[in-house]
């Protein structure tokens, strides 16, 4: 790979691979899935993608720094029930209750994320293990807080967000997009973002260059948790319900979006733009297969196969760049 042109071509294929895959999937469903290209359906897809997109944005930070967060689904349930409970406080005017509820949800997410990051960084425990524990802690807490009951009856103003549209697009999707764009700027244009990539590649070299890598690690996981708190509120406003068993398995969809988007599971390489495409691919797959009349079970099989394919491609890509 000494030829710069060949190298650039290969780099383009590497970066564009997921985009090409998305186009192929869309073209396939446009041809074979009835009603796929209808305006309502496309809007539906965006709505369905929104929560996973927000979670995957946060997950990208955890994975880029060389970790992973398996607790996002459970923490999301805890955020939702805590936020929902606060929102029903009888002594507050509705607008204040809504603000307090959202703040509580974000705070719960950030605390859980910070704990994940701090515990794994301080004691050198793989975040895989720590967040697996946090998954159970958060799920159990959510059940305790609610006594395993669901929470309904939220202020109308809050629920209105869930169905609101702006420029013909779901407002919540635009929020997710804005969050992703902000995250992209943080990752590519700030010292903090640089630290995340560098630590993901070689933490010891970064530490021995005089950086406090522990703080960066905690901050990265806190961002993951912040995104979980946001996703929880989006969930509640859309479905008008907060229950302690929501979000089961959401972490896997988020991880899948990040990996399909080309971010390396071992950290240090990838981008939020890839995550965006990855989340849309997963959303489009799910939607299109339903339109084609495929059963719930078969859809799971196909989605799983796509995830495996993406990881295989990732390892192939890693070998490509190692050779280059």
């Amino acid at each position: 790979m000494t030829d710069p042109l060949a190298r650039r071509l290969r780099a383009v294929v590497r970066e564009a691979g997921i985009g090409v895959a998305l186009l192929l999937v869309v073209a396939f469903f446009a041809l074979f899935a009835p009603g796929f290209l209808g305006e309502t359906n496309l809007s539906n897809i965006l709505t369905q993608v929104t929560i996973n997109l927000i979670l995957a944005t946060g997950m990208t930070f955890a994975i880029l720094i060389g970790g992973i967060d398996l607790s996002v689904g459970a923490v999301m349930a805890l955020c939702a029930v805590v936020g929902g409970t606060v929102m029903q406080a009888p002594f507050l005017p509705p607008w204040a209750a809504v603000c307090a509820g959202i703040a509580a949800s974000l705070a719960v997410g950030m605390v859980a994320g910070a704990l994940n990051g701090a515990i794994s960084a301080l004691w050198g425990i793989p975040s895989f293990i720590v967040t697996l524990g946090m998954l159970n802690v958060a799920r159990g807490s959510a059940l305790e807080v609610t006594d395993a009951r669901s929470i309904y009856d939220f202020p109308d103003a809050f629920l209105a967000f869930g169905s609101a549209h702006l420029f013909g697009l779901p407002l919540m999707f635009l929020l997710a997009l804005g969050l992703l764009a902000f995250g992209w700027v943080v990752l590519t244009r700030t010292v903090f973002g640089r630290m995340i990539y560098a630590i993901g590649n070689n933490e010891e070299a970064v530490r021995l260059s005089g950086h406090r890598t522990l703080r960066v690690r905690v901050a990265a996981f806190t961002i993951t948790g912040l995104c979980v708190g946001i996703a929880a509120m989006v969930y509640v406003t859309r479905l008008s319900i907060a229950n302690p068993i929501l979000g089961v398995g959401f972490e896997l969809n988020a991880i899948a979006a990040v990996i399909i988007g080309g971010t390396s599971l071992s950290g240090g390489r990838g981008s939020l733009f890839g995550t965006l495409l990855g989340a849309i691919v997963i959303g489009v797959l799910g939607n299109g297969l339903v339109l084609m009349g495929m059963s719930d079970f078969s859809r799971q099989i196909v989605t799983g196969a796509v995830i495996i394919l993406a990881v295989v491609l990732d390892s192939y890509r890693a070998r490509l760049s190692a050779a280059g």
């Binding site: 010292v191 640089r194 560098a198 590649n201 070689n202 070299a205 970064v206 530490r207 005089g210 950086h211």
Partner: protein, 522 residues
């Protein structure tokens, strides 16, 4: 028993072994001596089947011997006890001892037979009382060493005929060493052929029949130990031709600035224990290390591998947490508990292993260059890519680093250019006290001279440099003063006028020559 003929091994950039021929008789105890990097380890790796020779042949017990994997060597009856232990800490003593030939019954592990055989093996190395079911990680290092040997001489069909011991006493106390020597005598009485590698010259004279000296990959001499002595051996290891060859070159720097307080001063700093430091007896407090480094001065730290040189640099840098003792920077006491404290004081560390600890290999030269200087490159936490690229190219120009551009990944660079990127990182960060651990290891001759010149210029412009190197000519070329470490202490200090390889080596071996006074300092 063992015959080597014209063994040659080339690694990229170095001729590790150059036509080594040697014949070792059955039942002989043969010592290998030589400086760090003389080729001892390469020779052992060839014998053990870890590497294959580029040229030359070996014969073992009269038959051609060409191991291509370590198992071939084991099958042929040649076992190596490596310097770093190769035991599996979570498994039991018995499982470790018999790992290659676990007794089975109907496909299952036969625990009873396993323990029986293990007990017999343990008895053969004088560890009669040890429970074979104990997990290896609960044992002391000396016991592990003996277990390694028991495994190597082990019974069964693969009984060892040739045993190679690589620095077996490096981590042992004198009493533990004495026990090892007894074992060696017993093995010799059984007719075992042994090759013994050690820095401890006294051990070589006490134990071995003959000694071969390697220097720069060549076999310099082989003679009976009765016909030579310690100073003769050191002379042979050095080679006269080398001494003071480069020492006269250069050194036109102005003298260090004595008017200012030292750039760095250590008082009683105690790094983590060096691998070869004598283990502490309870209640005994070692003295720690005193050192003065002035602005414009290059101080070298010499010593054998494991003498504690890297540990000292890491202690100053706070790489393993705060080291006990006092550190002064420009005359003010500073507290350094982490690398971030050190860099804030203008202290930098160029590590021994630049790929793992110095560089973020898959990232660009620009990113690596700015890694310690992001506060300068960024404004309010926002990166300025143009400024970053400019800084990278400016440093590359200053160090004549060959880059295709600031975006080139450092993994693609040669060793010399990688090292220059690490240097650029510290220079851009405004480092005033730069510590360098083996700065020219694995770097070709041309780049090496460039780095030497650069270090000269840095000192001339007032930087204070602390250089660790295993290459004595390099230290003698660069330094104003050389501190020689031996077993975790500073054994002596030499001013430029006193530099000679013999003096340095003599100090480095102090603490090794007589086991009873080992580690007693100057």
């Amino acid at each position: 028993m063992l015959e080597l003929d014209g063994l040659t091994k080339r690694f990229p950039g170095v001729l590790a072994l150059d036509g080594v021929s040697l014949s070792i008789a059955g039942g002989e105890m043969h010592a290998l001596a030589g400086e760090n990097g003389a080729g001892k380890s390469s020779l052992i790796r060839l014998l053990a089947g870890i590497h294959r020779p580029d040229a030359g042949t070996m014969r073992l017990g009269g038959a051609p011997y060409a191991p291509s994997v370590p198992l071939d060597a084991i099958r042929a009856g040649l076992r190596v006890v490596h310097q770093e232990l190769n035991l599996l800490p979570a498994l039991s003593v018995a499982e470790n001892l018999l790992f290659e030939r676990l007794p089975r019954r109907a496909g299952l592990l036969d625990r009873r037979r396993l323990d029986e055989r293990a007990r017999a093996l343990l008895a053969s190395v004088g560890l009669d009382g040890l429970d074979p079911r104990r997990r290896v990680e609960t044992l002391g290092i000396a016991q592990c060493q003996l277990i390694e040997i028991a495994r190597a001489v082990g019974g069964g069909e693969t009984e060892g005929r040739v045993l190679i011991l690589d620095e077996p006493t490096a981590t042992l106390t004198p009493r533990e060493s004495a026990r090892l020597f007894e074992l060696i005598e017993r093995l010799r009485a059984r007719g075992m052929t042994m090759i013994y590698v050690s820095h401890h010259l006294a051990e070589i004279f006490a134990l071995c029949d003959r000694v071969s000296v390697l220097r720069n990959g060549r076999l310099v001499e082989t003679r009976p130990t009765a016909q030579t002595d310690a100073s003769g051996l050191i002379r042979a290891m050095l080679g006269r031709a080398l001494a003071a060859q480069e020492a006269a070159a250069g050194h036109l720097r102005p003298p260090p600035d004595a008017s200012r307080p030292p750039a760095l001063e250590l008082r009683g700093v105690r790094p983590r224990a060096a691998p070869s430091a004598p283990r502490q007896v309870a209640g005994e407090r070692p003295g720690g290390i005193d050192l003065v480094l002035r602005h414009g001065e290059i101080v070298g730290i010499a010593g054998l591998v494991g003498a504690g040189r890297t540990e000292l640099l890491r202690a100053i840098f706070g790489a393993d947490g705060r080291a006990p003792g006092t550190m002064l920077r420009d005359g003010h006491e500073v507290r350094i508990a982490a690398p971030s404290d050190a860099t804030r004081q203008g202290i930098g560390l160029l590590t021994e292993d630049r790929k793992r600890e110095g560089l973020v290999l898959p990232m660009s030269a620009a990113i690596n260059t700015s890694l310690a200087a992001l506060r300068r490159i960024a404004r309010a936490g926002i990166l300025r890519p143009a400024a970053e690229r400019a800084a990278c190219m400016e440093q590359a120009g200053r160090l004549s680093t060959r880059l295709s551009g600031p975006g080139q990944k450092v993994v693609e660079l040669s060793g010399g250019n990688q090292q220059k990127v690490v240097l650029a990182k510290w220079l851009l960060a405004g480092t005033r006290v730069l510590m360098l651990d083996e700065p020219t290891r694995g770097i070709d001759v041309g780049a090496k001279a460039e780095i030497h010149d650069l270090l000269d210029r840095l000192a001339a412009s007032g930087h204070a440099l602390l250089v660790v190197s295993s290459e004595l000519p390099e230290l003698m070329r660069l330094c104003d003063r050389i501190e020689v470490m031996s077993r975790g202490r500073i054994a002596g200090s030499l001013e430029r006028a006193e530099f000679s390889e013999e003096r340095i080596l003599e100090l480095a071996y102090r603490g090794f020559v007589d086991p009873r006074t080992s580690g007693a300092g100057p």
